[in-house]
């Protein structure tokens, strides 16, 4: 169920990216690609957890791994803010926001 939702989101993002490229909005298309990458990361991590962990442990392990990613990206965001690297701030914020979206989807699928 969760994986299916992620796949639907990936299809939507792919279509959006394609449309932006066709409209000559390549930077915005690159942002959509970044969001797709985050969804892909969420999907890959989940697939690994499903393959390697017992069902009763999966939720906790998945959330733990995603929390580790969140922490790394938050650190990256802090660094970017410190050095006023505005483009990086934008990208890291986007990554974190997408990660939260993936996690919301995960919780909704579990409910």
């Amino acid at each position: 169920m969760f994986e299916q939702k992620l796949n639907e989101m990936l299809s939507q993002l792919l279509a959006e990216e394609k449309q932006l490229v066709q409209q000559n909005r390549k930077d915005e298309a690159a942002f959509v690609r970044i969001r797709s990458n985050i969804v892909n990361i969420g999907k890959t991590v989940w697939q690994v957890v499903v393959r390697t962990e017992k069902e009763e442990n999966r939720r906790e392990i998945y959330l733990g791994k995603m929390a580790a990613l969140r922490m790394a990206w938050q650190e990256s965001l802090s660094q970017a803010e410190k050095y006023e690297d505005h483009d990086k701030v934008m990208i890291e914020t986007m990554k974190l926001s997408m990660l939260e979206q993936v996690l919301r989807m995960f919780e909704e699928s579990a409910a």
Partner: protein, 183 residues
């Protein structure tokens, strides 16, 4: 405008959203949120584009109370494209140097002790060799065919082919039996 600046500007303009921003700013100066509303983009995306536009010199900003107001740097758009293209490139000297090196390599290959060993088949190389031989002729002076043949003979025995090739390449102009080296 330097070549680097021109490249940065053209790259920056090759984006529909940035062009839309510029079009809006041509109507009036605006702040990020207003542009975001108008163009249905997020303020973060608008800010990203404005940073690029500002870095390329296409827009400028000023502070007004709590807002940063953006406006088009109109002087940049008054530039004549032809002027940009005609501007001397820093690469020109390097290009000339590379051409000179190539030319010398061709001459070293085809001239041995001042004689042309063979007439190059490749047009570019042949042209370089013909120009070298033509250096013995004064520009604009009129030469008799016999004089031309003798001067070419110093380099190669097939003076007829070389003479004809020089005319074909526009190095010589022929009027009857009289030849003039062109500039």
């Amino acid at each position: 405008m330097t070549e680097e600046k021109a490249i940065a500007l053209f790259k920056c303009l090759a984006d529909r959203s940035r062009l839309q921003i510029l079009k809006s700013l041509m109507e009036e100066d605006m702040y990020v949120e207003r542009l975001a509303e108008r163009l249905a983009l997020t303020p973060a995306t608008i800010s990203f584009h404005l940073r690029k536009l500002e870095a390329s010199g296409a827009v400028k900003s000023r502070k007004e109370q709590y807002y940063t107001i953006y406006s088009v740097e109109k002087d940049v758009f008054r530039l004549n494209l032809l002027d940009v293209v005609m501007e001397k490139s820093a690469e020109v000297d390097e290009q000339l140097q590379r051409e000179q090196q190539y030319r010398q390599k061709v001459l070293d290959t085809f001239f041995v002790y001042g004689k042309l060993t063979s007439i190059p088949a490749q047009r570019k190389k042949k042209r370089i060799c013909l120009e070298k031989i033509a250096e013995d002729f004064e520009i604009s002076r009129v030469y008799e065919e016999k004089e031309v043949n003798e001067l070419i003979l110093r380099y190669h025995e097939d003076y007829c082919t070389i003479r004809r090739d020089m005319i074909a390449e526009g190095i010589f102009k022929r009027e009857g039996t009289l030849y003039t080296r062109m500039e």
